[in-house]
């Protein structure tokens, strides 16, 4: 398609396209309403799942950064065999770091934690075992690694508290995948509705377009108002869910804040990104919808 005339367009002409495109919205009120609603619903779902996934991701990052577990060494293992175990640990794939904490160091740390109550364990000698603190690269592998570590001769027990993480991650992946399919369908529907609305406008104004073509208006000029119409529908369709999400998120965040330790990301941080994505999608749907519908009509 040619866009002759778009370049070097005069300000006055842009103003004219704006006015005409705006008027078009009301000429087919119901179609416009349907198209904007479709885009708004689509983007509302998209936005909600974005908000959700951004938060889950932040939460899981938070847990992930603490993804370490302890491997306790059996008391029967003599000190000189500890390096052997450490070497074996290093061989296991997916372990990022291995830190040895001796019986004595563990006791010292324990006493620090207990502080004034440290005499509670004074009479017990040192009940704590030697331990290795392991950090894993990928939280998804944690249970596999734990099993492997447990098999090493001399390791008594493995302990990790973040067993919820893999479940959380797999739920998140599933939610995201379903959302993508759902959203893709809705985006196509939104484009279809916008393109139909623009088509109807074009159809009702085909006489005007015919005359425009006969007196030498460029395709770019003729397209102007319809382009504006589609774009406006896309933007309005993005603004509605943006406002709803903003208000909704703020409310949910306040409510969640009452139940520590859960906290949601700051409203401004999340909404800045989400609104940007929604506007970009709205624009894309609107522009694409109007361009596609005009393609056929202008070939006169």
């Amino acid at each position: 398609m040619k866009s002759a005339g778009i370049t070097g367009m005069k300000i006055r002409t842009i103003g004219r396209h704006g006015r005409e495109g705006f008027k078009n919205l009301f000429r087919n009120g119901w179609m416009t309403f349907a198209a904007i609603s479709a885009v708004a619903v689509t983007l509302l779902i998209l936005g909600a799942s974005l908000v959700l996934s951004v938060n889950i991701q932040a939460m899981s990052l938070n847990i992930e950064s603490q993804l370490q577990f302890n491997a306790y060494v059996s008391d029967h293992v003599p000190a000189k065999e500890l390096p052997v175990i450490e070497r074996q640990l290093h061989v296991i794939k997916g372990i990022r770091s291995v830190t040895f904490v001796s019986k004595a160091a563990a006791l010292k740390r324990m006493k620090q934690i207990l502080q004034s109550n440290s005499d509670l364990i004074n009479g017990l000698g040192n009940p704590l075992p030697n331990e290795f603190v392991l950090q894993v690269t990928n939280p998804r592998d944690i249970s596999k690694i734990a099993t492997a570590v447990e098999r090493i001769h001399g390791i008594d027990k493995v302990q990790y508290g973040a067993s919820v993480v893999p479940k959380l991650l797999s739920v998140m992946t599933m939610v995201r995948d379903t959302a993508i399919i759902f959203i893709a369908g809705l985006v196509i529907m939104g484009m279809f509705l916008i393109s139909n609305t623009v088509k109807i406008t074009i159809f009702t104004r085909r006489r005007e377009i015919e005359i425009m073509k006969l007196v030498g208006a460029t395709d770019g000029f003729i397209r102007g108002p319809f382009f504006v119409e589609g774009t406006l529908m896309g933007i309005v369709g993005a603004l509605i869910p943006s406002v709803l999400l903003y208000a909704g998120y703020q409310w949910v965040r306040k409510t969640v804040a009452l139940f520590p330790p859960f906290t949601l990301l700051p409203t401004a941080y999340v909404m800045d990104r989400v609104v940007f994505v929604l506007l970009a999608c709205g624009l894309f749907i609107g522009v694409w919808g109007s361009v596609v519908s005009m393609r056929k009509f202008l070939r006169v």
């Binding site: 040619k2 002759a4 002409t13 073509k213 007196v215 208006a217 006169v300």
Partner: protein
């Protein structure tokens, strides 16, 4: 100047509308195109403003090589060719002045120039007093004057008219013809397809007759020549 060299036109449905048309129309002439319905008259006219493309052959209109014209040059070419139709093709929701100005607005002429040009053509076609009326309030003859004014407002070298008097009574047909002659006197080429025997016979101009897609007759100071 308009020139066609061995122009053929076959439509997608297999109908051959024109088979080998060659014609030369010097700048400033007034030409009637006559012939039975379906003989290829309309196609002949449509080729001149690139509503249709020839299947074969060359067409030159006012310095444009029509069949070689690229998509984006078509609008530029059309600003040099005024078109007038049987059904006027006016926009009903716009006033007379707005309808004429529309042709200049869409090619992004400045407001001041638009005003000046609109006044000039309104005066030329003689409907200055109707400038603020809408087409529905005008007679057929007056509406056709508006359409002619719109065709002229770009100062085209060529005006192509397809049955401009087809919907008009004899009196109005005459005054439209007089108007087109006046435009022709100012140096504009006029190509007018018509079924109006009286007009053709009375004014003794060049007549091109098209039958079965060919030029069957081309006479200076010719007659209508059909018995329909």
């Amino acid at each position: 100047m308009i020139e066609m060299q061995d122009v053929w036109k076959e439509y997608g449905n297999g109908v051959t509308a024109l088979s080998g048309i060659s014609v030369r129309i010097p700048q400033g002439t007034f030409v009637y195109v006559v012939g039975p319905s379906g003989a290829g008259k309309s196609t002949f006219i449509k080729l001149m403003y690139r509503q249709e493309r020839p299947t074969k052959g060359h067409i030159f209109v006012g310095g444009f090589n029509i069949e070689r014209l690229r998509e984006r040059q078509i609008p530029i070419m059309r600003r040099h060719v005024g078109v007038v139709f049987q059904d006027y093709k006016l926009l009903q929701q716009l006033t007379v002045a707005e309808n004429i100005a529309f042709a200049l607005e869409v090619i992004e002429v400045s407001r001041k120039t638009i005003q000046k040009r609109v006044n000039e053509v309104l005066e030329l076609v003689g409907i200055e007093d109707k400038r603020n009326m809408i087409p529905r309030e005008l007679s057929g003859g007056e509406q056709q004057r508006v359409a002619i004014a719109r065709a002229l407002v770009n100062k085209p070298k060529v005006v192509v008219a397809d049955e401009p008097t087809g919907n008009l009574d004899p009196d109005n047909s005459w005054s439209i013809l007089k108007l087109l002659e006046r435009v022709n006197d100012r140096g504009t080429t006029i190509v007018m397809a018509t079924h109006n025997r009286e007009l053709v016979n009375a004014s003794k101009k060049r007549v091109i007759a098209i039958e079965n897609g060919r030029i069957s007759r081309d006479e200076e100071r010719g007659d209508y020549g059909y018995e329909d």
